[in-house]
Symmetry: C2
Subunit: 292 residues, 2 copies
Amino acid sequence: MTGLPDILERGARSVDETLEELLPKASGPEGRFHEAMRYAVFNGGKRLRPVLATLSAAVFGVTGIRALRTAAAVEMIHCYSLIHDDLPALDNDDLRRGRPTCHRAFDEATAILAGDGLQSLAFEVLADPATHDDAEVRIGLVGALAHASGCIGMIAGQAIDMAAEHITLDAPAIRRLQALKTGGLFVFSARAGAILAKADEAAMIAFGRDLGTAFQITDDILDVEGDQEALGKATGKDAGAGKATLVEALGLEAARRKAVELSERAIDALENFGEAADGLRDMARFAVHRRV
Amino acid sequence: MTGLPDILERGARSVDETLEELLPKASGPEGRFHEAMRYAVFNGGKRLRPVLATLSAAVFGVTGIRALRTAAAVEMIHCYSLIHDDLPALDNDDLRRGRPTCHRAFDEATAILAGDGLQSLAFEVLADPATHDDAEVRIGLVGALAHASGCIGMIAGQAIDMAAEHITLDAPAIRRLQALKTGGLFVFSARAGAILAKADEAAMIAFGRDLGTAFQITDDILDVEGDQEALGKATGKDAGAGKATLVEALGLEAARRKAVELSERAIDALENFGEAADGLRDMARFAVHRRV
């Protein structure tokens, strides 16, 4: 399992169609800014987080537009964070998935605004009654996504990541960084189905947390040993930039074992869900066995 | 009436106390980022938008924490937009209200993240049941604020403002720019009380729209003829940067007449509200007669 499993490919296509509908069409003097939003969203990403959200929804029998709008919102947040992380003042990346990053394809100012616009659009989409007719559900999604992606969540993780270029983090501090920076959106996506169905979220939160960590460790392993061409970005970059990773803290072999263990534990968390959760199980296996 | 009227001063102090409670305390490796959020929020601003929100709430009998949390959310959005607008890639401002801008006091990366964090915190605060126990009200606030501040609202206005450095906008295009860039948050704040009380919003939207335009025109007039020291920022900057303003398009005298006319029309929109709306009437007068 090195490429994207079929179920993830199909999910990604539905997410793309929804994003296509939700993003503003470029026109008028602000057209270039809207183009930049689209450019950053349609970037060849694997759509792991939004597909996770749709697979989570399917576990609870929620399908169609409700699942897809929720999925699109989390992907907008993810894409905004990538635009801002790539900026010269932050990671200063010129390429993402083999294409110029947003600020290279457009300009820095437009990229900053495109990120801002994607963040607010995510919340605007979730707040719209088209996402769910129950206001409790919609506000539950907004609260969970704002918390996961916010100033004591994903953005705090990014701030720690920057600080880690100057200070040394131990393994627990790195785990906290990654739980904040990457874990939060995985947990949100995993919870999303339970929020949409007003069901108990505990098992899905546990699943999302372990999946997110397994995914992040695998990312860091691929950065060390991965194929630059397949990944579409420079590899070995984290070590060069003094970035804190668990591979660095634990060593390659221990990190690999840890990722597989987390993937298995994530699958165990789904034991009460039967076949409806097979998509999530596929995703947990893919997270650690992928080459991209 | 050149300084801030008493009712606005008192309102601003309550808003500040609420912001103080809602912003994260700086600690851990992400502490510098949280400090930057606080620095940018406690910047000596007049708190016009949040005080407008509390005055609007008072019209409908909504007071205390509900009004103040809503007010704090709109101020967080305003402050995030100022941080990002001040960045070198955008307006490249070193000073705001006589103090170094966020990216000068900290660094660009921290300023970008501080802006991102303030945006998400605004939605997190509104989504919290502490803001209102009715989910319909909370999601109404989130939807209205995301729309006003979003990619077809405030950020589109900012994108047009940047484009206007290279293209010439006629008066209707400038009015559209300002309605998007500045008007949206005024309209949100004016509507906020009606949303909190589930009351009819039409009169408050009309009030907010005219107040916002009157405020913006006055800002542009002050930029041309204002006192650099009282304003705490460079004056005459808009013309130098080729920024599109109505003062430029209409001339100083016509712009002044227009602002007063809008302020009076805003007050007329409140005719059904009696004494409870006196705070809003004060604000409409202050908007055009201020020197700061």
